[in-house]
Symmetry: C2
Subunit: 484 residues, 2 copies
């Protein structure tokens, strides 16, 4: 495709995207397709002929869009806000258009240095101290994996450059709560610690936050048994209920035992942009690594996961390679981001953040985050005022966790498995309408409903509409199983 053909097709695509985003609220939230339905729209054999842009846009309209659960829809309250702000989409487009290659500083000095600049700007905007050096990973899962690899190598005195993980008498142990993200367990297993050495620390039954005294006791017990505590993963804003592990207390324990502390603030990290929320992160300055995702609530399009470390030299020692075909005169004077993560080659991802900050401005981003916090407090108050609904977790951020507890056939409020079944049923019913989307999850053995507020286009009116839908749908579902 020539630049002139690109110009013509590109203008068509820009209009298509603008129309798509403008009309997203008019369609259903949930993709209404059956497994295999999208795939069956394509020929089983690869195409042999080229087609026009018009034909490709038709395919987007007819096949792709109906097959997407619309996370940019103002009535999307599932999982977490996965905002893709249009200003950051422009940054992503610029990155693609430039077609720059990040394999070394020399291959694209701007790609490297803008990433340094922007990571440092974000550090300052979050009120983090100068001790942190940052980079951009694809996701928090990868960042967590890198943290656990770093912890493994610190605890084993860099066994990777000798015999690897081979001391059966002194296993390395990892600590988190059952509310930690699934990527922690995945990272611990992939990093070779072994599931037997992953400790699940108890949580407070009201707040779902890590009990630091339980952590301390577990570590003492592991030490007594000859293990070496290597890493604690603390979460600010857990996936299930946005619980906040007590960082300061956990950090003191980590320091006492020379244990790596990784802070996973993937979703809630955006709140550090608000000075009035930073007290929720007290203790974070004592950690060894931290991660948060601008591609969630803040809204710099996926994949933009910030990873900060206190000791970049250690990170580089664990992750570095220095092949001769990438050596250049600039070595030693510049940052080589290939030594800060797993992939060698990288895209110009920092442009997404640069464009987002330049075009939207930090104050408009902050205003939006505050709007979402207000909306969450409003919904939480409505739920608390309604005797048929329970608020089942604190609401420090933008997620409201609730269950509907109607009267059962015996005239008593539902409980146990019946309660789980009812709540999953009304959420499923609501989601199927396409009018809104919510997620359920298990917390301490109970199914709960998560209302994750924070899509860029979600205003108070949308949250009010959701609350009305929740009540009518839950009531209808209860009636359909309750005797007349």
């Amino acid at each position: 495709m020539t630049p002139e053909q690109f110009r013509e097709a590109g203008h068509d695509l820009i209009d298509w995207i603008a129309d798509y985003r403008a009309g997203i609220g008019d369609g259903p939230v949930l993709a209404a397709v059956e497994p295999g339905q999208v795939a069956s729209s394509f020929a089983p054999s690869p195409p042999s002929e080229s087609v026009t842009m018009t034909s490709v846009l038709d395919e987007l309209n007819d096949v792709i869009v109906p097959g997407i659960t619309q996370v940019q829809h103002p009535m999307h309250y599932g999982w977490f806000p996965s905002n893709a702000s249009l200003s950051s989409v422009l940054g992503d487009m610029a990155s693609s258009g430039l077609g720059s290659l990040g394999i070394s500083w020399e291959s694209s000095p701007a790609l490297t240095e803008v990433e340094q600049v922007v990571c440092d700007w974000m550090r300052q905007l979050c009120g983090l101290s100068e001790r942190w050096s940052g980079t951009i990973h694809d996701t928090a899962s990868t960042a967590c994996f890198v943290a656990l690899l770093s912890a493994r190598e610190r605890a084993s005195d860099h066994a990777q450059v000798s015999g690897g993980l081979r001391d059966p008498d002194r296993p390395l142990t990892v600590y988190c709560t059952a509310q930690a993200h699934s990527s922690v367990r995945k990272a611990a297993l992939l990093a070779g610690y072994g599931a037997d050495n992953l400790r699940v620390v108890d949580v407070d039954p009201q707040t779902y936050a890590m009990k630091s005294d339980d952590l301390a006791a577990m570590i003492e017990s592991d030490l007594a048994a000859g293990a070496k505590p290597a890493c604690i993963v603390a979460t600010v804003g857990t996936t299930g209920t946005t619980a906040i592990d007590p960082l300061a207390a956990v950090a003191a324990i980590a320091r006492q035992h020379d244990c790596w502390l990784h802070v996973d603030a993937a979703m809630a990290g955006s709140a550090m942009l608000l000075p009035e929320q930073r007290h929720l992160f007290d203790g974070i300055e004592e950690a060894d690594s931290l991660c948060w995702n601008p591609h969630k609530w803040m809204g710099t399009i996926l994949d933009t996961s910030l990873y900060y470390v206190a000791d970049p030299e250690h990170l580089i020692r664990v992750m570095s390679t220095n092949p001769s075909y990438l050596q250049s005169a600039a070595d030693g004077k510049v940052v080589q981001y290939r030594d800060w993560g797993i992939p060698l080659g990288r895209r110009f991802r920092s442009l997404k953040l640069l464009f987002h900050l330049r075009l939207d401005g930090i104050e408009s981003i902050r205003a939006r985050l505050r709007r979402d916090l207000d909306n969450a407090q409003w919904l939480a108050a409505e739920i608390e005022a309604n005797p048929e609904w329970d608020l089942v977790a604190p609401v420090p951020f933008q997620t409201v966790c609730t269950i509907h507890r109607p009267l059962g056939a015996d005239g008593m409020p539902l409980n146990g498995e019946e309660l789980d079944t009812h709540n999953r049923a009304w959420v499923e019913r609501l989601n199927r309408t396409g009018n809104a989307y919510l997620t359920t999850t298990v917390v301490e053995g109970r199914w709960i409903v998560r209302v994750s507020i924070g899509v860029e286009s979600t205003e108070r009116e949308h949250v009010e509409a959701l609350w009305a839908l929740m009540q009518t749908t839950a009531d209808e579902t209860a009636l359909s199983v309750r005797p007349e």
Copy 2:
């Protein structure tokens, strides 16, 4: 940013990209900036105000573009072709515009199923059998890491779900040549095998390909010493010289010892699109996993790394997580790509491949690859016909490896360290002009010059111009150190 603001800014950006790409050959290839120069163009503190799109485009022109080594430039012959075809840029734009979230099939059925469809199309276009199931990773480094994790778990009977890597008496060993990509060593170390257990197999001194008899002998020796051979990484198209390890012979050895075989064809895999080149990949059907990057020579923009496995159930067992907040009615009926790699969340990356195939068409891509092969053969013939130049490796693909060997002060051809110094000097001199860009590398202790042909815009005239520049620059460099 509203959709209407995006529409206006987006049209400006499309024109900017089209102009940039149309004019890329008019500027220098190498970024002419000093370390820190780009960073110093930005304020040390984050911006507090938003700015206009015009101002952002000025920043692209004034700061970013001069700081990029232009890998899309027709005179770029460094590292490897890192093509970013404009048709695939459109696919990337569509992905960004959609803002779709891949964390489960349900979050975006189309994202999952188009990836399945396109990976299968690519499999067919490469002439690979139906035994392969594919996914898209960011880079071949990550794919190699996933392969080594898979091999580790097969060899240890899934030690990750029990005690992890803890048997000091039976270390797991990994095999590759010194010509294998640096990511193999990195992956082996990160996966916990330990550098002591990474074996470097000898290469043939003419072809730089793995000597399979040396591999067999090493494995026998390791077995005798009580080790467990876990993984062999064979390369088709090594980074240095595009050498081809003998897959069929290596696969037979792997099978004999139940050793995982991963084939790294990151750069050269594009050649599988050409039926006449497939014989170079004979034996690949016996491997356990293989990776190649459409984001290199084929030109589907970074990050598009295809990873195929013969046993997806094993991959899923090693990589899976199934948190409750992602469970849905579709589980068991659909592919969950989060269980095929490290990150949980993924972009709609398959659109890059879909748009590339749809808009350019496979036959135009194949024609371009054949053009590059022809250009490489032309340059190789020129070099062979010139007594002052040596062709230092076979040319099976698009990379030509050479050295200039002028007469020294004693009237004899340069040798040893003087020869290395001379070749690095003239390449450095040529690169600094900005007129073309080449990379040097060490192969078996000698510095050589790599001419990696294959940028989308590189025609025969550009290769002819390069050859002329190589000769004059090398001669001038030789003269400047040779007595009159």
